[in-house]
């Protein structure tokens, strides 16, 4: 355990000092950290899933507090929680099915080895379907069927434990190991997904970029870079305008890499975005996070670009790995149980933002001679605002390209159902209440 705690602390420090840049790196490291947490976690006999969930949640909470702006952390924590639940459920269902089967064909325990191998496979589809039903937030179908959804989830884990308790001890041990093993497998898959999401997204580039296109982008995003290069590799020739993204000048970095890969690149100032957008065919940008409503949290200046694109009817395409899709129900109409709003209020551009050092805008001491002119009430005369992110409302986004394909902004909420469990929507709150 102590080594895990050390790992966690190290990661926390990194997060707090904003040493980790980019949602992909953060997501990957979070997932790796959680994987080691899970593998190190000692699991009790009963209710193993619950214990794992608690452990992950405790660490997740620390991580989220360390950098509340890096939404990918919370997303990965939720995804891992979701994985635990799903694995547990599938295992339980399999166990229940097996129990049923074993009662039916009790006579040949050993001889039916081949049979046993077959049956779980057969039931896997049913299990998955069942898992979907129980884990997903309420859909119209569920409402019509009247299936209990939210009650089912916690009970499933406990009932799993119960059923587990009923089964034989040999089975239990193997099953315990199996659960952990499955979870770690799934987390590995998640990490794999995060690493390869660029490629999956980039594969779609040819479908969206045509010959002689003029593309505008802002800031630097690895996804965008890969996306553009993928199109370039497919022998498409096009031109890229890169807005530099002051005051971080990530655009310079992107321009450099694009040039290195042989793309026709033009670097422009951010202020020239409006002037150039009338000649641009498509805006392709990366994102920091994608809200459930289809809004995007993106590097600062993106809202300006989106508005300009909207004005000129230029498609505004956001590339986002699915780890960026976060659970924010803006307007909170779909909330149930505990309010979501304290965590994700309806003013994301202010509240999900981070103000960076003024020294990026004004040199330290540059205005020190002016600052003697402070007014009588003691408030400083000069403020410097240097936000990191911008919020782009969903109506300004034409298309999301994720590793699962292209989606409309209005569809993004649905992805959440695939990736997250309704129980984990509020990692922090629930836990705080538990404390």
């Amino acid at each position: 355990m102590p080594d895990v705690q050390a790992l966690v602390n190290e990661f926390l420090n990194k997060l707090k000092k904003r040493k980790i840049e980019g949602s992909q790196a953060t997501a990957k490291q979070t997932a790796e950290l959680l994987r080691s947490v899970i593998s190190q976690q000692r699991v009790p006999r009963t209710n193993q899933a619950g214990a794992l969930i608690d452990a992950v949640r405790a660490i997740g909470e620390q991580l989220i507090v360390a950098n509340p702006i890096e939404l990918a952390v919370g997303n990965i924590v939720r995804r891992v929680l979701h994985i635990i639940r799903e694995e547990d459920l599938s295992l339980t269902t399999a166990a229940v099915a097996e129990l049923n089967l074993s009662t039916v064909s009790d006579d040949d325990d050993d001889g039916g080895g081949g049979d046993q191998d077959d049956r779980p496979v057969l039931s896997a589809a049913a299990v998955a379907a069942a898992a979907r039903n129980t884990l997903r937030p309420p859909s119209l179908q569920m409402l019509l069927e009247g299936a209990p959804d939210f009650v089912a989830v916690p009970r499933s884990s406990s009932s799993g434990g119960d059923s587990e308790g009923k089964s034989k001890s040999m089975d239990r041990n193997s099953r315990t190991r199996k659960l952990k093993h499955d979870i770690i497998e799934a987390v590995n898959e998640l990490i794999q997904d995060i690493t390869t999401c660029h490629e999956l997204i980039a594969e779609q580039a040819v479908e969206h970029i045509h010959q002689n296109e003029v593309i505008l982008t802002l800031g630097s995003s690895k996804t965008v870079l890969e996306f553009l290069c993928a199109a370039k590799e497919k022998k498409r020739s096009f031109r890229v305008f890169v807005a530099e993204g002051a005051p971080r000048y990530q655009g310079h970095l992107l321009a450099k890499e694009l040039v290195a890969r042989g793309l026709q690149t033009t670097l422009i100032t951010d202020s020239a975005v409006f002037a150039m957008i009338s000649r641009v065919n498509m805006v392709i940008v990366g994102s920091h996070a994608v809200m459930a409503n289809g809004g995007v949290i993106a590097p600062v200046g993106m809202n300006m670009v989106a508005l300009a694109a909207q004005k000129h009817a230029v498609p505004f395409v956001v590339l986002a790995g699915s780890h960026k899709v976060i659970l924010v129900y803006i307007g909170a109409s779909t909330c149930r149980g505990p309010m979501l709003c304290p965590l994700y209020p309806h003013n994301p551009e202010v509240l999900l933002n981070e103000l960076r050092s003024p020294s990026e805008l004004l040199d330290f001491g540059e205005f020190s001679d002016c600052l003697d002119f402070g007014s009588g009430d003691g408030s400083p005369l000069l403020h410097v605002v240097n936000p990191t992110f911008d919020y782009v409302p969903p109506k300004a986004v034409s298309l999301f390209i994720t590793d699962t394909g292209g989606h409309n902004p209005s569809y993004m909420y649905r992805l959440i159902a695939d990736y997250y469990s309704a129980d984990d929507l509020v990692v922090q709150r629930r836990h705080a209440a538990g404390n």
Partner: protein
Amino acid sequence: MDARRGSLPVPRVRQVGFFTPNAQPAPTRSQSGPPDSSSPPLSDSPASNSLSPVMIPPPRHHSDNLAAAPRPTSPLPVPEPSPFRRRGADNNNALLVGSYNPAETLLAMSPSSSHVGDGESEETMSGGWFRRSNSGKLASSLPSGTFDFSPVQSTAEALKPNKVQNPVGISEVSARPAPKEQQPEAPSSSKQPKPKLTKAERRALQESQRAAKGGGKSVAAPEEVATIKSVKQHQTQKKDAPQVAVSVAASERKGGDKSQEKERRKDAPAPRMQFDDKSRVEKAKRRSVVDQTEAKKRVELFRHLPQYEHGTQLADLESKFLQLDPMHPAIYKVGLQYLAGDISGGNARCIAMLQAFQQVVKDYSTPPEKTLPRDLTAKISSYVSFFTQCRPLSMSMGNAIRFLKNRIAKLSPSLSESESKSSICTDIDRFINEKIVLADRVIVQHASSKVKDGDVLLVYGSSCVVEMVLLHSHELGKQFRVIVVDSRPKLEGKALLRRLVAKGVHCTYTHINAVSYVMHEVTKVFLGASSVLSNGTVYSRVGTACVAMVAHAFRVPVIICCEAYKFHERVQLDSICSNELGDPDAIGKVPGRMDVNYLNDVSNSGNLQLLNLMYDATPADYVSMIVTDYGMIPPTSVPVIVREYRRDHLLI
């Protein structure tokens, strides 16, 4: 035709006709001006034409022309009486009276007020000849259908010497015999009478034109005197009058149209030099003083704009200092300052240029066998092209240059050289004072009235007018905060921020990317402009459009502060077609940020282009209001100001 006649206006016209004792006056009118003028001018002609509402269009002219004349408001159905037109007409009238009086007295004709009636009276036979040049003008300009829209031009027309006009008078007279067919048409709308001419009339016109040919030649000389005397002429008229008058007269009526069109065409801005046109670029290069190396990596989209290596010209020019004998040192100095970027900002550049010209004029002496207006204009043109090579001129400077050349061209030849020079110098001073300094003061007055306590004002870049507005409002004791939005690479906002903070104004500073972050709290956006184009587009420092767009999206009013001399009749839809490119290297380097050096090693790669746009065009939809020295106007009113202002230009 008849059906139309039967429509509304007819009874009214009749009424008018009956009211006025016209049957008699008509014939006598030409002789007795005063009595005529007392009678409503509208009424007399229709009446004389036996009740037909024929004369309605001419009266309309009249009424416009003589807004001052004591006359009941027109009982006629005056279609679309736009206020602007009327105002223009008033001016027109003023011009007429001012410039025309001498001629009339010369000819011992009736007082100015009477020429109204004359214009109308087609029946007047021989007596009215000279005086009726005016009427002839009116009549001739009427069928062309352009009069209403070009008061200035028609004024110019009016100022044409009598002789030229006279034939028109004749034509009118001769055309009269067949009035009834055409006339009914006329009232319906004054803009389409031309095609309705009958054969007889057309023939009459042709004859009259022929007559004019003969007449024009003979009397070309006296008219020149007239033109000179009328100082308030249209600029182009001046050119036309001496040499072209004959040819104008030649095809009297058509010629009139043509010259009008020509003038209008001249009014329209000439197409700018396109730098992708190789032959023209070559030509320009041969002429140019500054040796500019073309940028190696030109941005494809902007091939039509000059793209030169920056930094090379300055040294080159400095070394050439002694060789450039035709260049006046003042011009040279200002040019270098433009090149080095020491002078920037529309007003500063314009004032520097004008003062340099003033210096030039002071030191000027006319070379032998040359005339001052021509030689000086040529000199100034060469200086202007030098300035252009140093840095493309702003539109406001173009306006100022046009003004200056106009003044020089209109100098009376009777003035001595020193008088001319001092007159030009005072003109320049007046321009600077009235169009820039005073205009700014008026704008500050207007704009600071819009600043309320508790306001959060957003400003972009560094506009001197906006800064004056802020400081003035601050001096008035208004409590407000200012958000200074800045953008790379010039970071002009820092200087503004420094000055504002030094004055004790509460400021927030940020980069343009964060504009949507700060826009929540903003109550008004104040922006400067390099120029306001005739379609309401605001041509300004790059980024202005972004700020205005975001403000528009957040429903924050956008107020543009711009002196009216910066208005231009050009139109522009985007920022690509005409723009200025700054030094591209400024983009790649970020001063003061050692960590941002990504582009150091790839900056000579062929694939990388750096684009440093200087201006952009803000669409009129984003602009709530433009504050000018003429008041606060919506962007849709810009063309009106442009048009009115042109005339103002003449009158200054």
